[in-house]
Symmetry: C2
DNA sequence: ACAAAAGTGTTAACCGTACACCCATGA
DNA sequence: TCATGGGTGTACGGTTAACACTTTTGT
């Protein structure tokens, strides 16, 4: 009940707190059991699934909105976040009335107006996240990238664009620091790349190129418990990794 | 006088036509006399220079706003346009009151509110453009990329980001179709690349690589009238060029 | 012992880069 | 005739891509 009041207040009076016409939607990527995952929310009324999103407070930096929204959903700080595109089709939310489906909302309500949404994607370490629904949703959980359901509005398209953008960025920037646990094996890192790029990579060439980037440190430990030969564990050299993020690099698979 | 009324109406009553809090700013690139140029506007009141920009009509696609704004400034259709970034710092227009400097504007006026701006860059054929000031400006003209004056707000930073974005895109996509006249010489095309990348390229290697892309057609004519050996004219094979734009390509200088 | 995964090095093809000479044109 | 810019090809070096065998481990 308390929560219901909260969500109603939000829908009716949000314009006191937030900028009108502007929203933020985030594609939150995680990596678990050799699969790329995306965090989705299940909406209260209609039971439809959507991307986690939110609005921009009147005096808040756009990037800070995305950070805040992410923190609310994942309980995580210092997440890798990237703004990748704005979606500005006036028809993008054309079934909003069906979707919101709440009493007390008039056509003039701020939330019924047209929204232009800024897309961000985030890379987070799966194991550290505790998915948390927001006031308007009943569930928040990870979905396999290959099994995404039909989402509201243009959210499927936003998700596809985010993935494409992430994929393209792999040629210029390393990935892994934010998606993998601190210690990981070379095959795990390779699977991450293969999953994002959706293509197979030669093991030996991958390792050679990855090590040549000079951002990895091989540990003395190996990962035991697997059914086969124990692979080495690696971790990123944070300083060198960040330098590579700033300068960019040539990867190219 | 008529024009003054028009601009005053615009500033006072724009919220009847446009979405609040959202603007579009465009970096319009042209190429002339071996120099990369940018189209800038001189503001009525303060005489400061700024990027051409505008607002999004209530039922207009964001991309269409950018197209409309561009057409109004350049009288050109079918311009190459690319959305490259959103600027969402709440402090980005902190000297707005000094800048607008118009009577009748209160703090609550729609235009005095905070704006998040979507950056687009455009590539246009210099010779086909007739620069046109808008209702709020007294002059519209090309500036050499190396001689840009101090612009209002964060417009210098937006311009730098646009150039950087264009530069990065050269590795993945061809450029030239929208910036050069229909027929052009290889040295002209090379100078365009050198100007954008701000570095020298070997003549022979440039030609080899460019021809290898398979998007150019060499004409039988040569460009005469120059003081030296007459260079061949080329034009883009539009179909192949567009295919390259869609698929992306590996250029890499 | 066998199946499955991990570690490792060599070779060939390709691409990028450096580089020099001849030709056409207007002054 | 000379200065300037344009047209063309080759040789070297580095990077990428293809590829096979040995080792480890749990079953």
């Amino acid at each position: 009940m308390e929560r219901d009041k909260e969500s109603k207040d939000f829908l009716l009076k949000g314009d006191q707190t937030y900028l009108s016409h502007i929203s933020v939607d985030s594609v939150i990527f995680g990596f678990h059991e050799d699969q790329l995952k995306v965090l989705l929310l299940k909406w209260k009324g209609s039971g439809q699934w959507c991307l986690p999103g939110g609005f921009v407070m009147k005096d808040e930096h756009l990037d800070d909105s995305a950070i805040r929204i992410l923190k609310e959903r994942t309980n995580m700080e210092s997440i890798y976040l990237k703004q990748f595109q704005v979606f500005g089709d006036p028809q993008r939310e054309r079934k909003k009335n069906e979707f919101l489906n709440l009493q007390g909302l008039t056509k003039n309500s701020w939330i019924m107006q047209r929204f232009i949404t800024v897309g961000y994607y985030a890379l987070v370490e799966f194991s550290k996240v505790t998915p948390e629904p927001d006031v308007l949703s009943v569930e928040c959980k990870w979905w396999d990238i290959h099994k995404i359901p039909k989402l509201i509005y243009d959210h499927n398209s936003i998700l596809a664009t985010a993935l494409d953008s992430l994929r393209r960025s792999l040629n210029d920037y390393p990935v892994g620091y934010n998606l993998l646990p601190e210690k990981f094996t070379m095959p795990e890192l390779q699977t991450l790349y293969e999953t994002i790029l959706d293509k197979a990579i030669d093991r030996r060439n991958f390792q050679k190129k990855m090590l040549a980037l000079g951002i990895l440190e091989r540990l003395k430990e190996r990962k035991t418990g697997g059914a086969h030969k124990a692979p080495f564990l690696y971790r990123f050299d944070k300083k060198k990794y960040e330098k590579a993020m700033k300068q960019g690099l040539k990867f190219g698979f």
